[in-house]
């Protein structure tokens, strides 16, 4: 193994992605869920840059930059939602947020 394989990055990304998925499903605290989402997005970024490097162009990098920017925006929105929920029900447990169903 003298030079870098594409797959080691991709698999790393995949693993992060899956861990993130586990996080968003299993975590109770909404903020934790947001963190897990970030894991997912980072996994994607790794993919993008890996492919970028492999293809030898910068589209991947650019894409990653956009993802990062968007992620920032989303986190902002998400935290706003967390706050408002917290304000209305004094809890950030997603389990409690199920007044509508069926």
């Amino acid at each position: 193994m003298d030079d870098l394989m594409l797959n080691q990055f991709l698999l790393l990304g995949a693993i992060l992605f899956c861990i993130g998925v586990y996080g968003v499903i299993a975590r109770k605290n909404t903020v934790m869920v947001l963190m897990s989402i970030e894991l997912i997005l980072n996994a994607v970024n790794i993919n993008l840059l890996t492919f970028g490097a492999a293809n030898g162009d910068v589209a991947g990098a650019v894409f990653a930059l956009f993802v990062i920017a968007v992620a920032a925006a989303e986190v902002g929105v998400g935290l706003a939602m967390v706050l408002i929920i917290y304000r209305n029900r004094a809890s950030v447990d997603l389990d409690d947020v199920d007044s509508m169903r069926g």
Binding site: V21, V24, I25, A26, V33, L94, D95, V97, D98, S99, M100, R101, G102
Partner: protein, 713 residues
């Protein structure tokens, strides 16, 4: 007028609408309209009659020179190996007899399918003319009679309206050119009978009777429809009666088709003409007003079946191979009916029901006659029977008018109060029993003769025996009927009285006809040429469309033996009554001399003679074996079957509706609906409200789809 015959049914039809629309406003509540219409129809019928005679005579006169036809006929005749015929039918007469008398026809297109045209029109020939007279005459008399009889009835007007409609449809039936038209009128008369039987529909019994009549007839109509359809296609898509007959006789139609058709049509005859086993509606139909019974259920409508057979005789002739067989369905049905009907007449207490069953058995005679090939005899009997049976019915009506009941147990001794009714009734009875020289004698005699002489090997002798038996029974039950009604003591209440002229006059007219009608067909043996066999001469449709061109077709010859036998038979039947009657007088003589004996004997008489003669001789002698059995069968089996069928249908209907329709069929539908709802309930679990489970579903589904497609694509 032969051309314009269509006018005749139109007139009463018009009067039907007339009466319906403004009958109520007329002074006599519309009856005058009906009477007038039928009167005119009668006159026109007479005119037609006369013109037809001329037509026939002309046909003969010009048929003399036309050799080839005559020749043809002659050589047919010569090889027709009926020895009977050879000797007693002079050749010149043959020529006359067999000169093809073309019927006068007229037709219009009714509607067409593609190239097939359904026609409607008039077919005027012997039988038609004869029926025209019978129908219009009896109808006229009944109309007159009814003005008195149903006077003051709440539906007086409607009564006459439907009498008119009936007359119209019956006339239409007799002059039908096509089987389709025949069928239409056939149904129409059925409806009229339905309406008139149910005339007093307030009592359920009456409406029941009406329904029974109509539905039983519908059963027969299945046969009618089938027969007509089979003939229609078998004869190359035509309804035309003449065509069908001709083709049937020329062998253009397969024997099978003819057989099927005639069997089907026999079913129709059974229902319409009250033959066993579809006869049960006829006695019930007596629920209707008596004039109706006289007109529809004795004189005219019920003979529609016989008339239809006589119309399509070619079909039956070939289909049942009447000419060469010695037993066939038609004759069989007739024979059974003769005996069955007669037997049942014994056990009735309702005078009209007696007459009804007697009608049944008389119709049986006619059917039997047709079955054995005695065409003329059948129609002749139809002719005479119409008069005297109508007379009997009207008589019974007159009686009931007097005693307000039809139950013979509430009558008796009426001869003192109702001389006219009595006399006419006696005459008619004599005619029915067939006493020389009354009408019935001649016609019945011809039938017996036919049964004995016609047909293939061995002839139809069986049916002659049947006929003779029937004659005995007829005599017997009529005697009983007459005795219970007119002799003995009056057992009813109130003061009986003779009916008014509008009732009596028709009675007399019919009675007279009941005497003289028989003279219409004097056998050649007994009469000069000028008057012999006039009926046969003028009314038998000779020509290509009639079996007369077939070698086997022949006329029975008057045989003195049968005549005597039948007369004796009749007399025996009466003898019983007479003997017993005179015996009663003798006894009364004694009682006048001896009080004690008087007491003893009167009781003895009133019990003994009555019981002995009535119960012992008549009942045990005849009713016992035949009638009681027949009656039991009739009430429990046949009637049971007929009514049971109805009840069965209803029950089945209920079951099907409750279990199949509402549960299976409908259930399936509603079931699927609720299934969908249930599915909805299940799938609602997907949206549990927990967003993280949504997420799990999202990621999981994505992964799952990806996996599935990776594997399977």
């Amino acid at each position: 007028m032969l051309e314009q015959a269509w006018i005749i049914p139109i007139i009463p039809a018009a009067s039907f609408f007339g009466i319906l629309l403004f009958g109520k406003r007329l002074p006599r509540k519309g009856s005058e309209l009906g009477v007038a219409a039928v009167g005119v129809a009668f006159v026109l019928a007479l005119v037609t009659q006369v013109q037809w005679f001329q037509h026939v005579d002309d046909a003969e006169n010009e048929s003399e020179p036309t050799e080839e036809h005559a020749a043809a006929v002659v050589d047919i005749d010569s090889e027709s190996a009926a020895p009977v015929q050879e000797e007693e039918q002079p050749a010149e007469e043959d020529g006359g007899e067999h000169a093809s008398i073309e019927p006068v026809t007229r037709e219009w297109t009714w509607f067409q399918f593609g190239e097939t045209e359904a026609k409607v029109g008039t077919l005027i020939d012997g039988p038609a003319v004869m029926m025209l007279i019978v129908v219009t005459l009896v109808s006229l008399l009944v109309h007159v009679y009814s003005t008195d009889y149903v006077g003051g009835d709440r539906r007086y007007t409607h009564f006459f309206a439907f009498l008119s409609l009936f007359t119209a449809s019956m006339l239409g039936l007799v002059m039908s050119k096509t089987t389709l038209q025949l069928m239409v009128c056939w149904e129409l008369v059925g409806v009229c009978s339905f309406v008139l039987i149910g005339h007093w529909w307030e009592e359920k019994a009456n409406s029941d009777a009406a329904l029974k009549a109509f539905i039983t007839n519908r059963v027969g109509d299945v046969g009618m429809i089938t027969g007509v359809i089979v003939l229609f296609f078998a004869a190359g898509q035509t309804f035309d009666i003449l065509d069908i007959n001709t083709q049937a006789l020329n062998g253009d139609i397969s024997h099978l088709a003819l057989l099927v058709a005639s069997c089907a049509l026999i079913a129709a005859v059974m229902s319409k003409s009250g033959q066993f086993i579809l006869h049960t509606w006829l006695p019930d139909a007596m629920a209707g007003p008596t004039p109706v019974s006289a007109l529809i259920h004795a004189a005219t409508m019920v003979v529609a079946g016989i008339y239809m057979v006589s119309r399509l005789y070619g079909v039956f002739w070939e289909g049942l191979s009447i000419g060469i067989s010695s037993v066939n369905l038609l004759a069989l049905v007739g024979g059974v009916t003769v005996l069955g009907g007669a037997g049942l007449a014994f056990v009735q207490n309702d005078i009209k029901r007696v007459l009804a069953y007697s009608t049944v058995s008389q119709l049986g005679y006619m059917v039997m006659a047709l079955g054995v090939g005695a065409w003329t005899a059948a129609l002749f009997h139809l002719f005479t029977h119409a008069f005297f049976k109508a007379c009997l019915f009207l008589g019974s009506g007159s009686v009931s008018h007097a005693v307000h009941s039809f139950d013979m147990r509430e009558m008796g001794g009426l001869r003192r109060w109702m001389p006219h009714t009595f006399k006419t009734f006696i005459i008619a009875t004599a005619a029915l029993i067939g006493i020389f020289p009354f009408a019935g004698f001649w016609s019945k005699d011809e039938i017996l003769a036919g049964a004995s002489q016609l047909g293939g090997p061995g002839n139809y002798r069986v049916f002659m025996v049947v006929g003779i038996l029937g004659a005995v029974m007829t005599a017997a039950y009529m005697t009983r009927c007459v005795y219970l009604t007119f002799f003995g003591e009056f057992r009813g209440h109130g003061q009986p009285h003779e009916s008014g002229p509008r009732i009596v006059v028709p009675l007399w007219i019919l009675a007279v006809l009941g005497v003289v009608a028989g003279l219409a067909n004097l056998p050649s043996a007994l009469a000069p040429d000028s008057v012999e066999l006039r009926f046969e001469h003028y009314y038998e449709p000779v020509g290509a469309y009639f079996p007369s061109i077939m070698p086997e077709f022949a006329h029975p010859e008057f045989s003195i033996g049968i005549a005597l036998v039948s007369t004796l038979i009749g007399l025996t039947g009466i003898a019983i009554g007479v003997a017993w009657y005179t015996g009663r007088i003798g006894l009364r003589g004694i009682t006048e001399r001896n009080r004690l004996a008087d007491v003893g004997y009167t009781t003895l008489v009133n019990k003994y003679y009555f019981d002995h003669l009535y119960t012992g001789v008549i009942a045990d002698g005849t009713k016992g074996p035949v009638a009681r059995g027949a009656n039991w069968v009739n009430q429990n089996v046949i009637d049971g079957v007929v009514n049971g069928a109805g009840r069965l249908a209803t029950v089945t209907g209920r079951w099907v509706y409750a279990h199949v329709d509402q549960q299976v069929v409908d259930g399936a539908v509603n079931g699927s609906a609720s299934a969908a709802q249930g599915g909805g309930q299940v799938f609602r679990q997907l949206t549990s409200g927990k967003v993280q489970q949504y997420g799990a579903l999202l990621f999981g589904a994505a992964a799952l789809f990806a996996g599935v497609f990776i594997v399977f694509v």
